[in-house]
């Protein structure tokens, strides 16, 4: 890597500081497939996210990007190594965590306001307080007119706004996002990225955002993790020093942005090619 720039500083993976929001240390995850083979999903994986930091994870298809998120939620347990959230080892689903899914995970039988109020209600907040809070968050994502609508009556972008409000209402200290905007069209996605950065700057959660879209990663993140083709491990880490607040619609034409994206793409490209050629071999 000769073309190092000030904006995309390549970091060396170091031992995580004690006060990191998320610390994944030297984790390997294997599991037995239904037909009895041992599969390694990720190996020797180390990643730290500082408090209030926005980290993006990019990598070829099937490299274990989503696995890293499930390690943080506790839905998956590492085979070796350890995962700490806010300094504590992960044992159960933490109340500090919010998760935005790739697929539509709203409850279709609940109206917008019932969906957004779900989190506080599950956690035992009194009904009135939960609905007041929900109304507030629906207002923040600009859907006040649609409180009583059901998800199927909304567009894909609006449903994502509801999903964001549903997650942010719990005020998570850790925000995990699994390709949340990949099903949206370009314009809606840009709008949602702005929406996300707006909400995030108000809350200052620590974010892990998984995406296959490098430009999205560079535009949003403080730090980009590039993963190798599966079994995934961290290939390199870049710090993105683009100034905030960022405007998604404009940042794509920023020369500094383009330069950073090029540098990281050079790194990512061979992994993507490797991942694809393996995919082709596997299907034959």
């Amino acid at each position: 890597m000769q073309s190092q720039t000030m904006a995309a500083e390549k970091l060396s993976p170091a031992a995580p500081p004690a006060d990191a929001a998320i610390a994944i240390e030297d984790v390997t995850l294997r599991f037995v497939t239904p037909d009895g083979h041992m599969m390694t999903a990720i190996r020797d994986f180390t990643m730290t996210v500082a408090r209030g930091e926005f980290a993006c994870v990019v990598g070829p298809t099937g490299c274990g990007k989503s696995t890293t998120l499930n390690l943080v939620t506790g839905l998956l347990r590492p085979t070796t190594g350890n995962v700490r959230v806010m300094g504590n080892p992960v044992t159960d689903i933490s109340r500090d965590i919010g998760f935005v899914f790739q697929a539509d995970a709203l409850f279709p039988w609940r109206s917008v306001i019932d969906n957004v109020a779900a989190g506080p209600l599950f956690r035992g907040t009194p009904k009135k307080e939960a609905y007041d809070k929900a109304r507030d968050w629906i207002g923040r994502v600009g859907l006040s007119r649609f409180e009583k609508h059901y998800p199927h009556q909304l567009s894909g972008g609006m449903r994502k706004r509801v999903a964001l409000a549903q997650t942010f209402i719990n005020q998570p200290k850790i925000l995990l996002m699994d390709e949340p905007f990949s099903a949206l069209d370009m314009q809606t996605r840009t709008a949602m990225q702005d929406e996300l950065l707006g909400l995030w700057s108000g809350l200052k959660s620590s974010v892990v955002f998984v995406t296959h879209d490098l430009e999205e990663a560079v535009a949003l993140a403080d730090k980009v993790y590039v993963l190798t083709a599966g079994p995934g491990t961290v290939k390199s880490v870049y710090r993105i020093d683009l100034p905030r607040p960022r405007v998604m619609a404009d940042i794509r034409y920023d020369p500094k942005f383009i330069e950073i994206a090029k540098v990281i793409w050079n790194d990512l490209r061979e992994e993507v090619q490797l991942g694809q050629s393996r995919g082709l071999q596997a299907s034959h």
């Binding site: 689903i93 919010g98 790739q102 709203l106 279709p108 609940r110 599950f122």
Partner: protein, 291 residues
Amino acid sequence: MTAISPTDQAAARATSIVAAEAQARARLRKRHALVIGLRLAILVIFLGLWELCADYNIIDPFFFSSPSGIWEQIWSWVTEGTSQGPLWLQIYVTLEETFLGFVIGAVGGIVAGIILGRNKLLADVFSIYIKIANSVPRVVLGSVFIIALGLGMASKVALAVVMVFFVVFANAFQGVREADRAMIANAQILGASPFQITTAVIIPSAMSWILASLHVSFGFALVGAVVGEFLGAKQGMGLLISTAQGAFNANGVFAAMIILAVMALVVEFLITRFENYVVKWRPAPFNEQGA
């Protein structure tokens, strides 16, 4: 690069749109009237042909009855009562057995389906027994119930219950299994306890499956009650049919059949109303849009 602006003919276009909409609505109304008219025509032709064939002895009304004969039979049951008491009492008895069987069987099926759907071990252990129980021809159980529970209501209700239970159970079980993984994970991370996941995610998402089975299983409950009465009873529509059959009264059999069909249709209508109320969050099916 120049921007191109469309020429402005908005007003003219608006009037033509209104006219086109009115035309389309008129076409829809016309088509609706046509469908209703054709349905009525088919009914009239069918009944008319049946009546004519019976009148001219092309088919023997002794075996195959005739619309006028059936109507006379129903009318005499309504005005003079049946051989076993007033008609409304027979209907009431059969409906009561059906409803009791339906409710007990459906509730049992839903509860069992959700418990087994949520618990993998129980499901693996019990699935074999449910398969075996389901493969027993259930109508035969009617005889067992009559022996064990007597000629009263209990034996009919029991038969209706076993008719309903397995259908509802299978659907509830499937519905629980098909509950969306992402949705469950979402609820879990939002803070739901396992019980809250069951009530807030599993049951609502299994609801469409369960409701679908309720449509079918009400018919089954009715079959259970009527067959039970057939096998031995003191009251009910099934007994009415069996008496008519014993007297070679084809009019009676057909008349009772039609009354049962009307009962089933009315309840089917009520279940549909209930379903639309419960799943009002669901998008309208495509064929009902614009109707």
